[in-house]
């Protein structure tokens, strides 16, 4: 993974000092809370319902074991003994004290980490495919480009006060999008053109929130050397022309849809022709310098026949289910990638304790070259595990309460913090995910239902990505009571689609029953066990599911509630 040199180290150390000064000027009254707010936000410090929340950047989700131990130490020393994995591959602490944040930043800087630009109206942490570098379907490792973009975006002087936040995601696997690039302000796909040259397909204007939109292609093929200059032109057009009068219409997707993709493209290309300079071109030497940090670890030469099937079908059913659901094929023979699910009955999705973090660091050192990856589904990945060592690893994870065999299954729920923490929320989302985890905590049922994603947001800002859940749940406020809308048919991947509301909103004591009815109808309606939930919904349409949830009378209703 990337290692800081003196330049990188200096910038992060100086940043911690700078923030210490900003905090002391806030405490002395030299700056007002209004003036302090953007400063703290650009440093990841966000005011939630009860307290500050500090969001730590995990660039493209990649962590070394020393960093994981530091995150555990911070959770133990400055917070309440846990951290929360976010849908943008970051980790956030829910209870830091303002006066201690500069000390936390010093701690982070000591392991080459920071909280720069994890909130606020600026370019946020760059996210990537969580199987980057190891996926069999990958054309090229996207992480060197993510790191180049991280450096370019860090304290970019021109784009620190954009109309709204700005998120960039990169994938190097054109066939399978695990980074939801079509739902980012800018999505980058590494592709090959007709003459075999590698470059980027550039998508723009995707996003969730109140107005979900699928990104559109602004450049079909961008030679790699123009990566920074072209993105800079997109940002400049947005910075100058994006709406600033209404924060709900300020994202780039609104500008793109108002101008139309053709006019937006024309403006970007015009700016780019006028502003690109030879200095701005991405030099091959720089790509090579950064890529060297992501060179494969010293893999052993192992036989290709790695007996995964034998484990799946073996006598140890718990191990078999875990291997079947949480182990992913690796591009190197004899190795596997392992998803550590932190989704467990009784635990809010994404929460990890300090002791678990320490233990994960330890396991990563012994089984996976000391590397851990945070996924946007709020889980962790050990990227490089010897397949022969899976049983031993599974036994250790089980002992740590981290052996749940539910990756990509029904109980692998994505959720926002909801009304328990967030002052934007209309409804609680964590209790709902806990109820789902409890209700469906039967491995045979999970396996039978197969791959299905449930995503829950406590309000229309959509932090739980409900629009792209195969099953999406949105908390709304109905005359002071918490209600939930049920949506079906969303997908964040190459087959991107936005879920649609099934019918009238449901009360808190109806919603999980409704999910169960939807799943029951799917099991009846699918053509074969190979037909996934999303495929069935797309094939049969909404009527059978409406009937299952609302009964025949409600079928006559053509419109559901809208927020």
């Amino acid at each position: 993974m990337y290692q800081y040199d003196d330049y990188d180290r200096r910038i992060i150390t100086e940043r911690a000092d700078q923030f210490r000064g900003q905090v002391s000027r806030r405490l002395s009254g030299e700056i007002t809370e209004e003036e302090f707010k953007p400063l703290r936000l650009q440093n990841g410090l966000y005011m939630q319902l009860h307290a500050y929340m500090l969001r730590v950047a995990i660039p493209y989700g990649l962590l070394g074991s020393a960093q994981v131990r530091k995150l555990a130490h911070i959770a133990r020393t400055y917070d309440r003994g846990y951290g929360h994995l976010t849908t943008r591959q970051n980790l956030q602490y829910n209870w830091p004290k303002l006066t201690e944040v500069p000390a936390i930043l010093d701690e982070l800087a000591s392991v080459e980490m920071h909280a720069v630009q994890t909130s606020g109206n600026c370019i946020r942490n760059i996210t990537a495919d969580h199987f980057a570098g190891i996926a069999r379907d990958e054309l090229e490792d996207p992480r060197p480009y993510c790191e180049i973009l991280r450096q370019w975006s860090t304290f970019h002087p021109e784009f620190a006060h954009l109309p709204r936040k700005f998120k960039i995601a990169v994938t190097g696997a054109p066939g399978t999008d695990r980074a939801a690039v079509r739902f980012h302000d800018i999505g980058l796909r590494i592709v090959e053109n007709a003459s075999g040259e590698r470059g980027f397909e550039v998508l723009v204007g995707g996003g969730l929130g109140r107005t979900p939109m699928i990104g559109e292609v602004v450049r079909e093929f961008l030679p790699k050397r123009y990566l920074l200059s072209f993105i800079e032109s997109i940002l400049r057009v947005y910075n100058l022309h994006g709406r600033r009068d209404n924060k709900f219409k300020a994202r780039i997707k609104i500008l793109v849809s108002a101008l139309g993709i053709d006019e937006f493209r024309r403006r970007v290309e015009e700016d780019w022709e006028a502003s690109r300079t030879p200095e701005l071109e991405l030099a091959d030497e720089e790509v090579a310098r950064v890529s060297a940090f992501f060179a494969p670890p010293p893999y052993e030469t192992l036989p290709a026949n790695d007996r995964v099937d034998a484990l799946v079908l073996g006598r140890d059913r718990e191990l078999g289910n875990w291997v079947r659901n949480n182990v992913v094929a690796h591009k190197v023979p004899g190795y596997s990638a392992v998803v550590i699910s932190v989704k467990k009955p009784g635990i809010p999705p994404g929460d990890v304790s300090d002791t678990q973090l320490d233990a994960i660091a330890d396991v990563a050192d012994r089984y996976s070259f000391g590397h851990v990856v945070v996924t946007h589904t709020q889980n962790l990945v050990l990227p490089d595990v010897k397949t022969s060592e899976l049983p031993g690893l599974h036994a250790e994870l089980r002992a740590l309460d981290l052996g749940e065999a539910n990756a990509n299954k029904l109980t692998d729920v994505i959720t926002c913090p909801g009304l328990d923490y967030c002052d934007l929320a209309n409804a609680r989302s964590i209790p709902l995910s806990l109820e789902i985890a409890q209700r469906f905590d039967r491995i045979d049922y999970l396996n039978d239902v197969g791959d299905v994603s449930i995503k829950i947001s406590g309000c229309i800002n959509a932090c739980g990505h409900h629009h792209v859940g195969n099953i999406g749940i949105l908390g709304i406020d109905k005359r002071g009571e918490e209600f939930y809308q049920l949506m079906l048919g969303g997908s964040p991947g190459n087959d991107a689609s936005i879920g649609k509301i099934l019918g009238r909103a449901l009360a808190q004591d109806e919603i999980v029953d409704a999910v169960e009815k939807v799943l029951g109808r799917y099991l009846d309606a699918r053509e074969s066990p190979d037909e996934r939930f999303l495929e069935t919904v797309r094939r049969v349409g909404f009527d059978p599911f409406k009937e299952a949830v609302y009964g025949t009378a409600d079928l006559l209703e053509t419109t559901g509630d809208s927020p």
């Binding site: 700078q18 030299e30 003036e35 109206n121 002087p157 006060h161 006028a274 300079t277 200095e279």
Partner: protein
Amino acid sequence: MRIIRDRAVVEDDFVHVPDGAEQPIGAKPIVRLADFVVVRETLLARHAAVGVRVSPDTLPADIPDLQRLALIAIEFPAFTDGRGYSVARLLRQRHGYRGELRAVGWVLRDQLQFLERCGFNAFELQPGKPLDSALEAFDEITVTYQAAVDDARPLYRRR
């Protein structure tokens, strides 16, 4: 009035002329763009140095006689309104503007470094804010990754 110019606190030798005023006085007036457009020949002939004050939605192409202006003041209606940063870069890098580029309006110490990197060299801070200690802000972060007005080379070409 005291301002920051070229990283020093100095007495301002320019005078802001109120919007719509008919007769600017003093050797170095700063007039609103809309007023400048009407009487620009007279202004440029009569005054030693003329400055123009523009809103952040003004693009360089909207400013006539750009190269004859001694000063362009870009307004920040809110410190969170970042359009002025792009306008400044365009003025410096694409239009070769070399006169004083001044940030006015809601300008705060913690913006100074980014503003300077985008080409501003003068700053009117929000009234009541300390000026001398604000000078420290220019050197708080001493490494810059990106190309900007201060250096056309990204860090990887300097590393």
